[in-house]
């Protein structure tokens, strides 16, 4: 009866995760690129380009976690213990990079330390997110509605590959963000980095696309049975086009916004591939969105607030991005 409410919730969580991956993706990406910057001035410029936004960006992660608890408590209760260690690692990484935004400015002699903390924290958080993703795709062992697997079940070569892939992907988002938001040496360097990262991302996407159907029959069946094949075939084709366009625009100094948009498009495509592979499971391969759903009264109660608040949130988020629009020049900041 209320089957579609669970679907709506799956959709909302999907949006929250996508928003998170794109928004926090580019500011984690700035951290990942920190070690490749040349001077303290450049690092100031890079960090300033995201400083007013990072907290709002990270809030999408809270919405993802909180929304999962509210709408699908059974899935939340299985997944968190299943990927316990990478979740904690992600949180610890986010602590270091989060406080670095402030501490780097107020700590005079320890600036170097917070540079390292910002970079290492960002890399750790991105890697851990990839591992969590990989752990989910692999599947989680469930008995009697609780996690029943081993504590290191998540730790496989496949999960590690996903971890590295996410690091590369976020770095690509970060680099194209810098192309858009900065000038001078930082922007030039970012263009070069972005090309290498684009290549890496495409390679990783390729490997994951081959690995998952080979290793997991349910995914192979989803993609390669007829008529699905015809419906889903555009996904890899459009991906290839987006990648080529991104490369072309990265070579064209006049294009400053388009590479970032292309990188976002690539993320969306990869993401939709994963959704195609795993839908309707929240905890592959056992728990579907319907089995994990909260009581209808809970889902409806929060849904009302969400449908009202999401547009408001998107509205003022856009407003703040608009306010801080324009480029960050060398030596310029908001502090």
């Amino acid at each position: 009866m209320e089957w579609y409410i669970a679907l709506i919730w799956a959709g909302i969580l999907g949006i929250a995760v996508a928003m998170y991956v794109i928004l926090d993706g580019f500011d984690l990406g700035i951290g990942i690129l920190f070690p490749f910057s040349k001077s303290e001035h450049e690092r100031d410029q890079m960090m300033n380009s995201v400083a007013p936004f990072w907290d709002g960006n990270e809030t999408w992660l809270v919405l993802g976690g909180g929304g999962l608890l509210a709408a699908f408590p059974a899935a939340y209760a299985i997944l968190m213990p299943a990927v316990y260690l990478p979740v904690i690692a992600m949180l610890l990484g986010l602590i270091f990079r989060g406080v670095a935004f402030e501490f780097r400015w107020v700590g005079r002699t320890s600036k170097q330390f917070w540079n390292v903390a910002f970079a290492a924290g960002s890399i750790l958080a991105a890697f851990a997110q990839g591992v969590i993703l990989g752990g989910l795709i692999q599947g989680v062992k469930v008995e009697n509605g609780a996690f029943a697997g081993g504590h290191f079940d998540f730790a496989t070569p496949f999960a590690a590959l996903c971890g590295v892939a996410v690091v590369a992907g976020y770095a690509l988002l970060g680099a194209t963000w810098l192309v858009m938001k900065t000038e001078g040496d930082v922007a030039r360097l970012a263009r070069t980095h972005a090309k290498w990262l684009l290549a890496a991302v495409i390679v990783f996407m390729g490997i994951v696309s081959l690995w998952t159907p080979l290793a997991f029959p349910r995914i192979a069946e989803r993609w390669f049975s007829l008529p699905n094949l015809f419906f889903f075939a555009p996904v890899p084709i459009v991906t290839a086009i987006a990648a080529l366009l991104c490369l072309k625009w990265l070579d064209d100094e006049r294009r400053e916004v388009l590479p970032f948009l292309c990188a976002i498009a690539l993320f969306f495509l990869g993401y939709s591939g994963l959704v195609i592979s795993n839908f309707p499971y929240l905890v592959p391969p056992t728990l579907t969105v319907w089995q994990a759903a909260a009581a209808p009264a809970s889902q409806i109660f929060l849904l009302l607030g969400t449908l009202f608040m999401l547009p408001v949130i998107l509205g003022y988020t856009a407003f703040v991005y608009w306010l801080f629009g324009g480029k960050i020049r060398e030596g310029e900041g908001y502090h």
Binding site: N48, A51, P52, D55, G56, E58, T59, V62, L63, G66, G67, L69, A70, A71, P73, A74, Y76, A77, I78, L79, M80, P81, Y84, V87, I88, L91, L92, L94, I95, F96, G98, V99, E102, F103, W105, V106, G107, R108, A146, F147, H151, A294, A295, A297, S298, F301, L302, G305, M309, I313, Y316, T317, V320, L323, F324, R329, E332, G333, Y334, H335
Partner: protein
């Protein structure tokens, strides 16, 4: 290796949340204070209000960052530490926390950007608006999270289906019986704690003969606010206690170390509650004091600890002593504030060194009272995680003790490093003072390093 996973999960949760609450307490109060300063600045056009607002915004930024990252940890700990509780109560706790994210977190975190980085870019009106939005966001956040927490103490508006709590009436859930008292007590605690920080910093500058305009304003604001609100807190706390007596009598019995409910209760100023012997040792007490406070009758009776079997009692010494710490600080605050108000009235507030000298050290007392208060509340709820519904021992996640021990050690280490540096930086910002911080050139360019020029002159404290 043999670790008790439940005990470790509790330790980890207690450690991380006790750290977290320090920062909300301060940011709830401070954002309201900054908004007030800005409104006063716009109103009176006096520059020192502006300098003060900028100065405290710097400190706010550092605290807020620590509040955010430590809070993020908590929102995932419901799954990593208490997954069986999440299954049991997720239908109820989840949407409440969901509303917190939607209504509060996005508001505060988005407008924070304008508040911190918008000083010279945008018209003052927009900036003031953002400060108010952030202050409001922190308060709304307290509303929802305390509603969730209060439901765990006084569950209402639900039915049990297949061993899971299912919501029936959301108004009853949100406004559950202990919620209004707890929210009022906590919000007041946050403002009070902050007013003591402001008061202490004012006293510190006055004694050092620095920033006299700002110092006097801070001292007046701190003392004036606290003189009204500290006594109010006593009243709210008392009402809160009466409510608890109604719904969680065992917690009250533990707070008062009251064993035998067939006799009126003494108020123990000091005692050692002996859990085995079910009696108090070395007691110094006010005869029938507790009965008088709780029942307004020296012969009044209220339930004792022996009314429930030992397995249903909380750890009495923890609850008992934490309660006394909070009370002691509560009275110390009332005394400090009223004395200051008296001196102010006689026109001597800024000269009395015997008052200012200790006053510069009171900045931390509110934080201790807050942690002590939460220890009373939460430890007093044990052995239940949701009072009367689920035991804490049945709530933990299927995570091996060794993993929790490892991550607990990591948390202790990371929080130790990050937060001690944060507090060190805040202290240094305070020593640097409002003039140096707010005096940064208005335009862009140099503005990204506001501290570099003036701060070098100051020795780090």
């Amino acid at each position: 290796m043999d670790f008790d996973p439940v005990l470790l999960a509790r330790l980890q949760f207690a450690f991380t949340i006790s750290f977290h609450i320090i920062f909300p307490t301060f940011t709830i109060g401070l954002s309201a204070y900054i908004a007030t300063l800005e409104v006063m600045w716009l109103w009176s056009q006096r520059e020192h209000y502006h300098r003060l607002a900028r100065f405290w915004t710097k400190i706010f930024a550092v605290s807020f960052a620590m509040g955010v990252v430590s809070g993020l940890v908590l929102s995932y700990e419901f799954g990593t530490n208490w997954s069986r509780f999440s299954v049991f109560a997720g239908n109820i706790i989840g949407p409440l926390m969901g509303y917190e994210v939607l209504v509060a977190f996005f508001l505060e975190s988005t407008f924070l950007g304008i508040m911190l980085f918008g000083w010279n870019r945008f018209p003052p009106g927009l900036h003031v608006f953002s400060c108010i939005a952030v202050a409001l966001g922190t308060l709304i956040s307290a509303f929802w999270i305390i509603s969730a927490n209060s439901w765990m103490h006084t569950p209402a508006g639900y039915v049990l289906q297949n061993g899971v709590a299912v919501p029936v009436d959301w108004l009853q859930i949100i406004f559950n019986p202990s919620f209004p008292y707890r929210l009022a007590h906590m919000a007041t605690a946050a403002y009070l704690t902050t007013s003591f920080v402001v008061l202490a910093v004012g006293a510190r500058y006055l004694l050092a003969g620095k920033y006299l305009d700002e110092a006097k304003t801070m001292l007046r604001m701190g003392v004036g606010f606290a003189a009204i609100v500290a006594p109010l807190q006593l009243f709210i706390g008392d009402q809160h206690g009466l409510n608890t007596l109604k719904y969680q009598p065992v917690k009250i019995a533990a707070m008062e170390a009251h064993w035998d409910g067939s006799k009126p209760g003494d108020f123990e100023i000091f005692a050692w509650p002996d859990q085995k012997g079910e009696a108090n040792r070395y007691a110094i007490s006010v005869p029938r004091g507790s009965s008088l406070v709780l029942t307004h009758d020296p012969n009044g009776l209220f339930p004792g600890l022996t009314s429930v079997p030992p397995t249903d009692r909380p750890n009495v010494p923890i609850v008992f002593f934490a309660f006394r710490i909070m009370l002691g600080i509560g009275f110390l605050m009332i005394g400090t504030a009223l004395l200051g108000a008296f001196l102010w009235w006689r026109g001597k507030l800024f000269e009395m060194r015997w008052y200012l000298w200790p006053a510069q050290y009171v900045w931390w007392i509110g934080f201790v009272a807050v942690i002590a208060g939460w220890t009373v509340t939460e430890s007093g709820r044990q052995p239940w995680i949701a009072y009367g519904l689920q035991r804490t021992a049945d709530a933990a996640s299927p995570v091996p003790g060794s993993s929790i021990a490892t991550t607990l050690a990591l948390f202790v280490f990371v929080y130790g490093v990050v937060f001690s540096m944060g507090i060190y930086y805040i202290n240094r910002l305070i020593n640097t003072g409002p003039a140096a911080i707010a005096g940064a050139p208005p335009a862009s360019g140099m503005a990204s390093r506001p501290l570099s020029s003036d701060a070098e002159a100051e020795a780090p404290s």
